[in-house]
Symmetry: C2
């Protein structure tokens, strides 16, 4: 990859908000999660700020206790395709689960998005960690954690294989001789593995990026190995710079051991900046955010990470209970991170609940303060860039109008898009089609 020192920036589009209570802000549209005008406005603002990509997360099951931003949301591929038509440069990255999708459908939808957007598609590969998702997909049980990553690896291999079905110049279009296609450049995949058997070829031609960009968010051991081996961009959720550095070093080292190109994968912590005109103004905004949150919400968040365990049964101000046996079926990495934070701060249930409901993080302050923190994280080996949550309404505009110009002045952010594709803007190489590569080897 190129020696690009720019900070990579993504915007997480999440409708009503990041936390359970963000929707209660007076300026928040309670239907934002299915409001195309809101999404379009956010997308265009991020593009004005020269962000690399928009990111739409996903999940596949809800119940009446789910957080508002899970309850009601656009499906990622459809909203990203709509946003492709309303933007020109910004990347379009969506989550799609390998556990409940057919690789042929996944390959098509992202290739189609890549064509629609002129080369701006990215796939965030997830394995779906909520156990009750299986019940929405005619399955009796969710596959265990370790197996999910074996499925994921095979699923991804099939999708990437299908993306190479068409060599770059397979579509000939010779009208005079009636030759639409060079059949020697259209390839079956003939994949036959333990989980998937897929013949191919894909019924859509080679897309502008050759292969849409692969994103992933590995946190567990299996997840980090997967990220190091397969991802081009990795999302993570460190609580502070130290945790970010540890993760960054670990995943880059795993990737290096696997012989991957230096610099890969790019690592982008998720952050929730609160930008004020001054540090004091930002502090006031943070308190506004905390004011939206109830203790119930924090406890719900905690419970969710531990297989719906009820923490109200304990003294909320006493020591955190022994929950070693909990969380096997749930989000392992989230639970472990919470336990680490509790131990580090010797926190009560009440304290960790409030923190979970309204994480403060490192990025609360005036424009210079936030820009300094972003620069510090990147220069001190914690990040290649960031995946931004909007906290309060108007915060994306504040970031774009106040922080982006400072980063541009410091040459830490582009002043305009360098390339037409997401891959190009991220400094990732165009992938040579495996079939063309084979021929090259035979010729050489």
């Amino acid at each position: 990859m190129t020696q690009d020192r720019h900070i990579k920036l993504g915007l997480i589009l999440h409708g009503v908000g990041r936390t359970w209570d963000d929707w209660r802000h007076p300026d928040r549209d309670v239907r934002a999660s299915t409001n195309i005008r809101f999404y379009r406005q956010q997308a265009q603002t991020a593009e004005r700020g020269k962000f690399d990509f928009l990111f739409v997360a996903d999940s596949l099951s809800i119940n009446e206790k789910s957080s508002p931003h899970y309850l009601n949301r656009f499906e990622p591929l459809t909203i990203l395709s709509a946003l492709a038509a309303s933007t020109e440069h910004i990347g379009l990255v969506g989550t799609l689960s390998v556990s409940y999708s057919e690789p042929f459908n996944v390959a098509r939808q992202f290739a189609s998005l890549d064509h629609i957007s002129g080369g701006r598609a990215g796939w965030n590969v997830v394995t779906s960690w909520l156990g009750d998702t299986a019940a929405n997909f005619s399955r009796t049980a969710h596959p265990p954690h370790h197996e999910r990553y074996r499925i994921a690896a095979e699923h991804l291999a099939v999708v990437q294989g299908l993306w190479d079905s068409w060599e770059d110049d397979a579509l000939v279009g010779d009208k005079e001789h009636g030759i639409f296609l060079d059949p020697a450049k259209l390839h079956r995949l003939d994949h036959a593995g333990p989980y998937f058997q897929v013949r191919g070829p894909l019924n859509i031609g080679r897309s502008p990026q050759g292969q849409p960009v692969i994103f992933q968010a590995g946190a567990s051991e299996d997840g980090r190995d997967f990220a190091a081996r397969h991802a081009e961009v990795v999302f993570c959720g460190p609580q502070d710079l130290e945790e970010a550095q540890t993760y960054y070093h670990d995943v880059k080292a795993r990737a290096a051991r696997l012989g991957r190109e230096a610099g890969l994968p790019l690592i982008l912590p998720g952050i929730a900046p609160i930008v004020g005109r001054t540090d004091a103004d930002a502090e006031r905004l943070y308190q506004e955010l905390v004011g939206l949150t109830s203790l119930d919400t924090g406890l719900g968040f905690l419970s969710r990470a531990f297989s719906d365990h009820d923490f109200r049964a304990y003294d909320l101000d006493g020591p955190f209970p022994d929950v070693a046996a909990i969380g096997q079926q749930s989000n392992q990495s989230a639970a472990q991170r919470i336990l680490a934070r509790v131990r580090r701060g010797n926190l009560s249930i009440r304290q960790i609940a409030r923190e979970l409901a309204t994480p403060r993080g490192d990025f609360v302050g005036g424009p210079q303060t936030v820009a300094d923190a972003l620069q510090r994280w990147v220069e001190q080996g914690g990040a290649d860039g960031f995946n931004l949550f909007e906290t309060l309404p108007g915060q994306l505009e504040a970031f774009v109008d106040l922080v982006v110009p400072i980063l541009q002045e410091r040459k830490l952010l582009r002043s305009d898009y360098e390339q037409t594709t997401l891959r190009g803007n991220l400094g990732l190489a165009y992938p040579v089609n495996r079939h063309a590569a084979d021929k090259g080897k035979q010729a050489g």
Copy 2:
């Protein structure tokens, strides 16, 4: 439904063309099938002509012998979502196969499209008739014809059940009391059938149409029963008015026997008009179209309907061979239609091949001639409207500029959209949510 006598109009978006050789026209972009600008332009032209909807067909397997318009194409949900952002009024209808999709994913994607487009989504339910599709989806065999319709009925029931997960007013959004959702108005489906087991609820709120519109194209006995029972709009492919009348009468009668509302389902034959400035000009354009076609193409088309049977083994100018045993695994209704046409015209292989490659149909002529034919089909009980293929490049514009004004003058076509939703413009009622209906019954 309302007593709307307007002709319903759909435009089939098919990229490089309807037949195997349309792409060879000098003015046709050989990459039209993945060219977003071409799709956008077609969509906006159809909207200018006050068409009811755009339709994107689909198929799920190709090989190097497939027709150019099958080989390389956008995936329907993604391209329709992109077009939602580039249009304001026109409906957005896409094919999705029940044989190779999860009902939960289908329900979400169409509900999401319905939100994105402000209520313009329609689903064309198909069962996928190409036997080798199974090989792209980790299946060993394609289910037999009759079973596919049992799967389709259950799949559709699950999707429509999921669309009723949220009552219209389930999203409360009471910021003061922190009540996002009324949990009594969010419903699990708890479907447990022979093919699908789906708990729900769907993770996207009630969409503007309540339920996206159901399209279908039943031709076989099973298909017609399915259409009569479940479809709101039916596509068909009659060769002439007589065949259209027979089909129309048959499906409407089946629907009436099932107790469906009078007028349902709407029946829309697919037609391929060629509009000239005069009848003679249109004849010249038709010959231009025929000139693009090779005999090979016609034979390929024939072969495709009969399980890839090779008709070159016969005397092309002799009588049509006995193929009673062929076609069981393939498109039964297409094969039967071809055999009926061969018998009616006593055609040789060469003759039926040419006709298949360049069907002429009833809609070739000057503007008055084409408008008269459309009116005749509707007034004589052959159609409630039409699903249009563009034949030669520029033909959509010709239809919109020359034929549409005549239809409007005759009050056979709207001069502007009456409603904001596809359902509304087609004159279909807003479906009452089943859970609200249950409560209504209990209260009454």
